[in-house]
Every structure is written in structure tokens, then in C-alpha cells.
């Protein structure tokens, strides 16, 4: 009797527990019913007003390993037009047969003209959504958005991921993209005067013959693929200017966020190509003789990639290489610093730094909003040349 009762009790407890687990089903997600968004594009319509949104939705069979039949498209691009500046969910579901799933999208691209008008509405909208990642890169493009969104990319076939990887390469291999170019970085700086520099991606090649799976059958990957083309300066959600690709490493350097940096210095009727990495950068704003001075101390390990100079490598020669590298850096950084000051672009965040200062000597500077333009740049460097590659001195034919 007792035993039977106990079994009953157990059955009841187990059933109730199982039932309680079912409460999770209210938020059930069926993978087959999802339209997984990979890449989002946004443009403003200059004539009619309102905006156009593009969504690339992953085609699962298109990215799986393909054995038979032709090559499928890895993504399908949908576009919708809305009259307000943010997206409209009812319009989106009009044409998509599955439930849009935004949690895992890889990148967001905005046209230059939209960025120049200001992205504040879109950013406010994005921040409100709980299913959007804010750690994805925000990209600016100067190519027609429709073309960008209909481009088949090679090697990495998901265009969103492709763009993201290109930016990663730019950050870690060449310094041509800023590591602080995600949505959250733009949002962070919305209410301050600090600039965010977003990567600019364009389509390479004039004839865009890449909106066709035939693209995968041609060997020329240069035609109609994404290419990193410098940085867009965003101030309070609005694009105010752009930096060239060649200026980007120095921008990153001045902000202490560079990972790798290539520089060639002329020396002894030849040149030495150097790769610097492992940077330690200290940035400090001080007041000297009534003028703000931005002191940047830079320390890096240098590796020699090429050497065509006539002189033999010895300690004196290494010193000379270091001083030439220092000179090249000083020169380029100073030029960028002056140019951006002239254009009213506060790329090193000086205004915000001055605002944070305390004490009497900063009082005057704090009152004057233009005081950051009087800042002088003082850059000190310390390089340690570490490796030379396989050979020491170059081969000579003379």
C-alpha cells in the first residue's frame, strides 16, 4: 500500500516537472522557419524621402558543401522601402516567407549619403532592439548600395562575413581599419565630441559583372569585389569627412590602437621595409607655456622585411634605420594632425580630453571650444629591431 502510494507520488512529481519545462515553448524557435539575416544595408531615398533597407538572408543549401548541380546563391537579398527612417516590420514580412532572425547578423552597411545626413534615428532604433548585436562592424560605402548588396564575394561566400573579415585584416595586418568601428563605438560617441572612424568599403572594378553565380567560374577576383578604401569620420552620428587608406595607419597610431604597421624608409641608395608590431603607446595631454601639448610615447618591435641598402648591417646602421623610421613617422603623423586640425576634424579626441582636465591652468582652455586646435603634437618613439628574416645583407649584382 505504502509502496503504491510512493510510486504515485513520484509519478506526480515527475509529470509536474516535465510540464513546467514546457513553459519554455512560448519562445520556441524552429530553425526551419527562420530567415537568418546575415548582412543589412541602409540607404536614404533622396527624391521620394524615406529609406531603403536591404537584407541578405542565408540560403542554407547555398552555403553547404555542394556536390552536384550548379552553384546556388549563398544568400538572397530582399529590399524594402519605408517612409520613415527606420525599418518597418510589417513591410519586411510582406515578402519574406519565414520569420526574420536578426540575432546573428555579421555587418551593417550604410551609404555615404545616408551617413552624411546623420544616423541618429537608426542608431536609436538599433539600440532599442534586444535581438541586434551591437558588436558588429558598421560600414560606410560610396558605391551604389544595390550593387553592393547583389555582389557575390569569393573565398568567403557570405558577403557580410566577407566584409567583416576584410575589415579584420585591415585592423590586424595593415592598420588601415580602426578596431573601434563597431555599432557600439558609434553609439558610445554619440553624445561626445570624439570621432569614430568607420571603414569605407567600395566595389572594385568598373563593370560590376559579379551579380551572377558565373562569378564563381571566373578566375579574376578583382572585378566586382569588396575593397577597403579608407575611413569615414563620424561625429555624433554624422559623417563629416574621410581619411585615405594611407592615412588610416597614422590615425590608428595616434590613437594607440594600431596592431601592425608597415613602413618603408629610404637609406643608403636603397630602402628598408619594416614591419612594426607589439605597440605600447602612451598618450597624454599636458599644458606647456599656456598651450596644450599632446605627448605620444610609442614603443614597438620592428621586423625587417626587405633591405636593399648598400651599407652593411651593423649597430650604427641599425641606429640609422631606427632614426629614419622615427623621422618618417614624425613626418606623416604631423602632416595628418595638421591636416585634420585645419578641417575641424578632432581625430585624437582632444576636445573631450580638455573637458576632462581639472585645475586652474585648464580653465581658459575649457571655456574656449576652439582651444583644441592650438594643441601641438610631440611624438617620441623607441624601436627595437628584432628580426631580420632569413638573410642579413642583400645580394648584390654590382
Amino acid at each position: 500500500m505504502n509502496v503504491k502510494r510512493r510510486i504515485w507520488k513520484h509519478k506526480l512529481v515527475v509529470s509536474i516537472t516535465a510540464l513546467l519545462c514546457l513553459t519554455g515553448c512560448w519562445d520556441m524557435i524552429e530553425v526551419n522557419q527562420l530567415a537568418i539575416v546575415n548582412f543589412v544595408g541602409m540607404d536614404l531615398n533622396p527624391e521620394q524621402g524615406g529609406s531603403t533597407f536591404y537584407y541578405q538572408i542565408i540560403n542554407p543549401t547555398g552555403i553547404a558543401a555542394q556536390k552536384t548541380s550548379g552553384i546556388n546563391a549563398p544568400v538572397y537579398t530582399y529590399s524594402i522601402r519605408t517612409f520613415d527612417s527606420t525599418e518597418n516590420p510589417s513591410k519586411l514580412t510582406d515578402g519574406i516567407s519565414k520569420k526574420p532572425f536578426f540575432d546573428h547578423y555579421n555587418a551593417m552597411v550604410v551609404t555615404e549619403r545616408a551617413a552624411r545626413k546623420g544616423l541618429i534615428d537608426q542608431l536609436n532604433f538599433l539600440e532599442k532592439q534586444n535581438n541586434r548585436q551591437s558588436t558588429i562592424p558598421m560600414i560606410i560605402t560610396d558605391s551604389p548600395l544595390a550593387a553592393i548588396m547583389r555582389t557575390y564575394t569569393s573565398l568567403e561566400r557570405l558577403p557580410g562575413r566577407n566584409a567583416r573579415l576584410i575589415i579584420n585584416n585591415g585592423t590586424y595586418q595593415t592598420g588601415e581599419a580602426s578596431p573601434r568601428s563597431q555599432v557600439k563605438h558609434v553609439v558610445e560617441n554619440l553624445e561626445s565630441t570624439v570621432l569614430t572612424v568607420l571603414p569605407i568599403i567600395s566595389l572594385s572594378g568598373e563593370d560590376v559583372a559579379s551579380t551572377d553565380t558565373k562569378k564563381y567560374e571566373t578566375i579574376d577576383a578583382n572585378k566586382g569585389s569588396f575593397i577597403l578604401k579608407g575611413g569615414a569620420l563620424i561625429k555624433q552620428g554624422k559623417m563629416i569627412g574621410r581619411l585615405k587608406s594611407s592615412e588610416m595607419p597614422y590615425y590608428n597610431l595616434l590613437n594607440g590602437q594600431i596592431h601592425m604597421f608597415h613602413q618603408s624608409v629610404p637609406l643608403n641608395e636603397g630602402h628598408v621595409d619594416l614591419r612594426s608590431e607589439d605597440f605600447t603607446i602612451r598618450k597624454k595631454l599636458v599644458m606647456e607655456n599656456g598651450k596644450p601639448v599632446l605627448r605620444i610615447q610609442l614603443k614597438a618591435e620592428v621586423h625587417m622585411e626587405n633591405n636593399t641598402q648598400n651599407a652593411k648591417l651593423d649597430e650604427a646602421n641599425l641606429k640609422e634605420i631606427e632614426s629614419q623610421l622615427d623621422k618618417a613617422l614624425q613626418d606623416k603623423c604631423a602632416r595628418l594632425f595638421e591636416k585634420t586640425k585645419k578641417n575641424d576634424w578632432d581625430i585624437t579626441g582632444l576636445e573631450a580630453m580638455i573637458k576632462q582636465k581639472r585645475g586652474q591652468q585648464w580653465a581658459a582652455a575649457k571655456r574656449n571650444p576652439e582651444s583644441w586646435k592650438e594643441t601641438q603634437l610631440v611624438l617620441t618613439t623607441q624601436f627595437i629591431i628584432q628580426t631580420f628574416g632569413n638573410t642579413l645583407d642583400p645580394y648584390k649584382t654590382r
Binding site: 651593423d314 649597430e315 628580426t387 638573410t391 642579413l392
Partner: protein
Amino acid sequence: MSGTLKEHISGWQFFLITVNYSLGTAFFIRPASIIATTKQDGWMIPLLAGAFTLAAVWIWMGMSKVYPNLSIVQLAVEVAGRPVGGLIALLYIWYFIQTSSWVTRNLGDFMKTILMPNTPITVFHIMFLGIACYAAIKGIETIARTSEILTPLVIFVMVTIYLCAMKEWDWSKLEPMFQTSFAKLVKDSGPVIGFPYLETVSIMMLAPHVKSRLRTSLLLGMTLATLLLSGIVLVTVGVLGAPRSGHLLYPLYTIVKELQIAEFIENLESTIVIGWTVWIFLKLCIAYYCAVIGICQLFKLKNRAGAAIPLIFLIAGIAITLNDNVIGNIVWDKRYIFQYSCFYGMVLPLLLWMLGKFKKRRRKGPAA
């Protein structure tokens, strides 16, 4: 575990230790600098240097015979008294630490340049020193047995690979032979005498542990090291040619990189790197052990661990401080290594030998 407890190694083990210690790093590093200075006649340099080393070995043997049961550090304290002898002992301990740092840095430079450029150099150093420290705490018998197992393997791999490289051999690359004057040969062999030959004085720290045939093992070990070093220079010149190998930082590595056996065995460079790291490991273990045992003997410590563990960080630090890059090392090596090694390999041993003899005679004197 005890530093004073007697450990024994056999003559054969001491022979292997001699070979490992003198070739461990030199086998890879020396050919480049030898060929850069002496071109195709470079293979004569190790022979010349080896001959000069006989004189040094004679001094070392004389020194070790005065008090056969004492290592250099103990001998210095014994014959020169606590203050002066202690200073000499400290100098030797510093030398062992410095040698360990050199070995460590050589390895780090190689790995960073050739194999794993993104790993911080100190990581290689600490990893290697960690194992060397463990070996040093375990004692010389362990190190000797390790080298007994590993050395034949390493030498076999090296010899096989370089024999395979011989199909690229070209006698004409050695032409014109015997063009270098004797004076230049002597001058060029200076740094080679310093490193690796006189550096080998460190293993005299182990002499009291050797049960038998100390002199034979030492001489045979030096001879084999000389022949191998000379042989590898010859192979390098014959395969790569003097002009090319003079430009390369690690010509032996390049030989292996370009090696093709039967059209389908290629890219053997990792094999050679494993072989070389094993060799460096053996050399580092010995140098590290010498440093640890030197400290233990000087301060009469029983336990080696207390001295061995902080040495990891000290040696890793000095390895970074010694020079900024390979160029600094090469320049220093060319200019100072001979004088510096002579001080430790010839001057101090000679001084200790003489002092020891003098002291023994004086002690005998009144008794007789």
C-alpha cells in the same frame, strides 16, 4: 636531490655531454659566420680552432688533477681562499648564467625569425628554461642519461638529412681552394675558439662526477665536435655555395628547406628544428645545471630547487637584455668573444692550476 651527495656519470656519458655542449648551438649558428668571413676555406677554421683548444684542454686537465674531487667553483675557494676564490667562483657562476642566457636567446631568435613570428620571444625562453630547471633539479645523472638517449637520435637525424642534401653537392662551389692566407685563417678562427670551444670549460664543473676516462672522453668529444663542425661547414659551402650562405642567417635551415627527397618528400624543415631544439635543450640543461650547482657549492646548499627556480626568470631576463637582436650578437661575437672566453677558458684555469700546485707543494714542504 642533494647538491653535495655524490652523483656519478660514466666516461661515455661525459663524452656525449662534451659533444652536446660544444655543438648544441654552434652547429646551427657558427657555419654562417665562419663562411661569411672565410668563404669557401671556412672548413679549415674549426680544425685550426680545435687544434688550439688542445692547449686549453691540457690546462683544464692539469687544473682538474690538482684536486680531482673538486669542481672549478670549489677549487677556486679551496686554492685562493674565501674572499678571492669566492670572487672567482662568482665570476664563473655569472659565466654559466650568461652562457645559459645566450643559448636561450639563440633559440628564441631562431624560433621567432623562422618558425613562429607571432609568439613573444620570452614565451620560448620561459618554456625552455622551465624544463631545463626541472632537469637541473633532478641532477646530472638524469641529464647524462637523457643525453645518452637523445644524442644518437639527433646526430642520426642530422647526418641523414645532410647526407640526403649531398645530391646538390658541387665540388666547383668549393673552388678556389686554399686561397686564404694562414694569418687570416688564424685571425678568423679567434671567435670560433671563443665560442664554442673555450666555452666548453663549463663542463669541467662536472669533472668530479666522472667515474673514469675523463681525459679520453673530453679529447674524443672535442675531436668529434671539431670534425662535425668542419664537416657541416664543408657541406654548407658545397651545397649552397659560399656567396649565398654568407648572406643567410641560418644556412643549415635553408639547406633542409630546399631539400627534396625523391620528389615527394619535401618541407623537412620542421624535423630539423625538432632535432636542433633537442640539442639546444641538452646544452641548456648542462649550462643551467652548472650554474645551479655552482651556486649550491659556493654557498654550501643541500637543496638545488631553491637556487634553480628563480634562475628561470633571471636567465630569461638576461637573455632579453644581452642584445636587442641578432646583429648585436654577431657584432659582439666578432669583437669580444675570443678575449672574453679566453679569460674563463685559459687565464682563470691556468691561475687556479698554478695556485693549486703551489699550495700543495707548500703543504707537502713542511711535512717532508
